[in-house]
Symmetry: C2
Subunit: 180 residues, 2 copies
Amino acid sequence: MKKLSYQEITALRLSKEEMKQTERFPIYTLLDNIRSLHNVGSIFRTADGVRLQELFLTGITGYPPRPEIEKTALGATETVPWTFHEDPVAVLQDLKKKNVRIVVLEHTSHSIPFNKLSPEYPVCLVVGNEVFGVQDKIVEMADVAVDIPMYGTKQSLNVTIAYGVVIYDILFKYLRLSDR
Amino acid sequence: MKKLSYQEITALRLSKEEMKQTERFPIYTLLDNIRSLHNVGSIFRTADGVRLQELFLTGITGYPPRPEIEKTALGATETVPWTFHEDPVAVLQDLKKKNVRIVVLEHTSHSIPFNKLSPEYPVCLVVGNEVFGVQDKIVEMADVAVDIPMYGTKQSLNVTIAYGVVIYDILFKYLRLSDR
């Protein structure tokens, strides 16, 4: 067993040009008032990894170009389609009209563990502010809320890690359904 | 569907005292030369969430008490058992003697996608340096290497996110096996 070199790994990935020609998965993400630009960049990097359809940055969430975003996005702001919108509600209303299911990552009275979710696609995962979570008015618009089972003492994971855990689960379920 | 308050969520979690009395899952983690103290703290927080058996900090990896670790650990350094060791090889040799399986998160000639892994327990997940990954000599000691399928242009995820994605998968597989 031998580690792959940087060049060997790069050869396994899509180039920016190839990425533009490649069909994306029917998975969206909406960031609701993410405070930290480093977190935004980090989510861009993960969103590249799951070949996200589109990333909606809303409310106080910062958007490119910002050096703090680039520091953690490592170029993914150029490979993930994104748009900025002050009002997340309008974005979600539009998605619902297009039959996109809305999943919020939030502790609610009716949240189910993310691993028990059987998402319908297309789907949009909403993650919220580092301290306050997803806004009430967005929770009310959701088709379903999921949370991450926590077996220790802490309330929750860091938002970028929680996002990674759940979006990969949503992606793998899609790939299984679509038999890829 | 109503968001839970901070107090309502806290009531669902273990207290520090309860955590001390609670049996931990047979899942370990070894950090091999993690450079960023923020990343170390962030991994502590996730390790609390999966009720990790023990976190081994090795090589140049920083260890508590450090304010930069606390900033992201948010107290999890007090709820996750941890030890520091200069030499990761000695730790892994000891774990192997105790029949702990060694899984490295690394791009190798023989890596399998993490979601295809059927881990045997107890298990230790090894994650490596942000730039250089897991050291060759550790890769050679591993029972198996896993990687995270990347569908975009980037080589890999941020190490703390990669850790979260894989450790939750390892945990859920354990919970299913043990029928909890």
